[in-house]
């Protein structure tokens, strides 16, 4: 019988956890980056590309840290470019396709509210590097939220068409809500030790923020969708594979390419 050293297990678990945080930022960044030169106005193009860039910076810090914790010599690039979709730990809400502008903004809004709660808690993490990355990221996602929230309200209270689209976006996003607050992918020792944050514990605050926004936007949660789960454990929607095929192809064809 082998006895696991709980300390080692928790450290392994920490690398896994930080990877999941990094994957959330990376995959949402990739989705936002798809809109560069394709946004409805130049101002929005700049906004979405700035958001993509902030998220990419967060992902780089988190993936580099995950690689150090893993201790196998994998760099941030190795982790971003050379893993299979089943090895990604991001939530499915970050990976589903952009759809129309209403969905783009709603998704950024929903995940920004979520990241704000998570990073605010992790700013006090017992892991000093995770705490430093989080304190910095918190300022950025707070700014993203202000922008995306404005749009959700503007679309909800805009024309009949924009309200219809915003409402449809909400119905499309809702199946992915439950997964955001699932702790099963996090080593419980990490939460007990004040290193990681329980995502389940964030749900009430997130819901309250969402309810307030939806009420200002004259939108309603349909509340009838079948929840999706499994992405945190590597069972993703088919969309992640397509996204990675695009983002990883250059690096796989020309390993170590730079310009």
């Amino acid at each position: 019988m082998t006895v696991e050293d709980p300390r080692t297990t928790a450290v392994t678990g920490l690398g896994h956890y930080v990877l999941g945080l990094g994957d959330d930022a990376l995959v949402l960044s990739e989705r936002c980056a798809e809109l560069i030169t394709r946004s409805p106005t130049i101002e929005e193009d700049l906004a979405i590309s700035n958001i993509a860039l902030d998220l990419l910076g967060q992902a780089r810090g988190l993936l580099a840290h995950a690689g150090e914790l893993e201790g196998a010599g994998r760099s941030e690039d190795d982790l971003a470019y050379l893993r299979l979709d089943t090895q990604f730990r991001n939530c499915a809400l970050a990976e589903v396709p952009n759809g129309d502008f209403a969905f783009v903004m709603l998704r950024i809004y929903l995940l920004s509210e979520y990241f704000i709660l998570r990073y605010a808690a992790l700013a006090d993490s017992a892991d000093s590097q995770l705490s430093a990355i989080s304190a910095k990221a918190l300022k950025e996602v707070s700014y993203h939220k202000l922008h995306a929230r404005d749009w959700v309200i503007r679309l909800g209270r805009g024309t009949a068409e924009s309200a219809k689209r915003a409402q449809a976006a909400l119905a499309d996003a809702e199946p992915y809500f439950d997964e955001l607050f699932d702790d099963t992918w996090i080593h419980p020792d990490l939460i007990t030790a004040g290193i990681a944050v329980s995502e389940a514990a964030l749900r009430d605050q997130w819901q309250a923020a969402l309810d307030k926004t939806l009420s200002e936007a004259d939108l309603e949660l349909p509340g009838a969708s079948r929840p999706f789960s499994g992405a945190r454990h590597g069972r993703h929607t088919e969309h992640l594979g397509n996204l990675l095929a695009l983002t990883q192809s250059l690096h796989r064809a020309h390993p170590g390419a730079s310009w």
Binding site: L46, G57, R60, K136
Partner: protein
């Protein structure tokens, strides 16, 4: 041998690649310059934003600037904590920004970013406070774009952060 004060002065003179009117010291990006145990120099910098694309360039600029004064054994370290804030932009930096035509940031609040629509910003050209936000995300991560209603000038604003 070059003394640490000279090395610090040289490092502090490196311009920010995105707002070249400011040095990395004016901007608060330069955190520390010190000897390491092996007799080399460690320069510590902090990014303004997580995704700041200028960090690699700043690092190279520091090395080449120090190379000009004969200091070649240089390591540039990036630290994230404490997180950079626009409050770290020096008074001199704020004056330079205004002169250059960029509105400097107001002091930040501790409880998160202020919605930009609520910020009162003076036009760097005519000093009017009757200005409006055009877009919250400007040409670089740290700037928003505004327009002056008095003189019609469009200008960058370093957003409080």
């Amino acid at each position: 041998m070059v003394n640490l004060e000279d090395i610090r002065t040289a490092a502090a003179s490196v311009p920010d690649p995105e707002i070249p009117v400011l040095t990395i010291e004016d901007l608060g990006v330069l955190r520390d310059v010190a000897w390491d145990d092996a007799g080399g120099v460690v320069v510590v910098i902090t990014p303004t934003y997580s995704g700041c694309p200028a960090m690699a360039e700043i690092s190279n600029d520091i090395k080449s600037t120090l190379g000009h004064i004969g200091v070649h054994d240089v390591r540039v370290e990036t630290v994230l904590a404490p997180a950079w804030s626009t409050d770290w932009i020096s008074d001199e930096g704020r004056t330079k920004l205004s002169t250059y035509g960029i509105a400097p940031p107001a002091p930040t609040r501790r409880d998160g970013p202020v919605p930009l629509t609520l910020v009162s910003v003076r036009c760097p050209q005519c000093n009017s406070s009757d200005t409006k936000l055009i877009t919250a995300f400007g040409s670089t991560a740290c700037k928003a774009l505004r327009k002056c209603r008095s003189c019609e000038e469009v200008f960058d604003h370093v957003k409080p952060y």
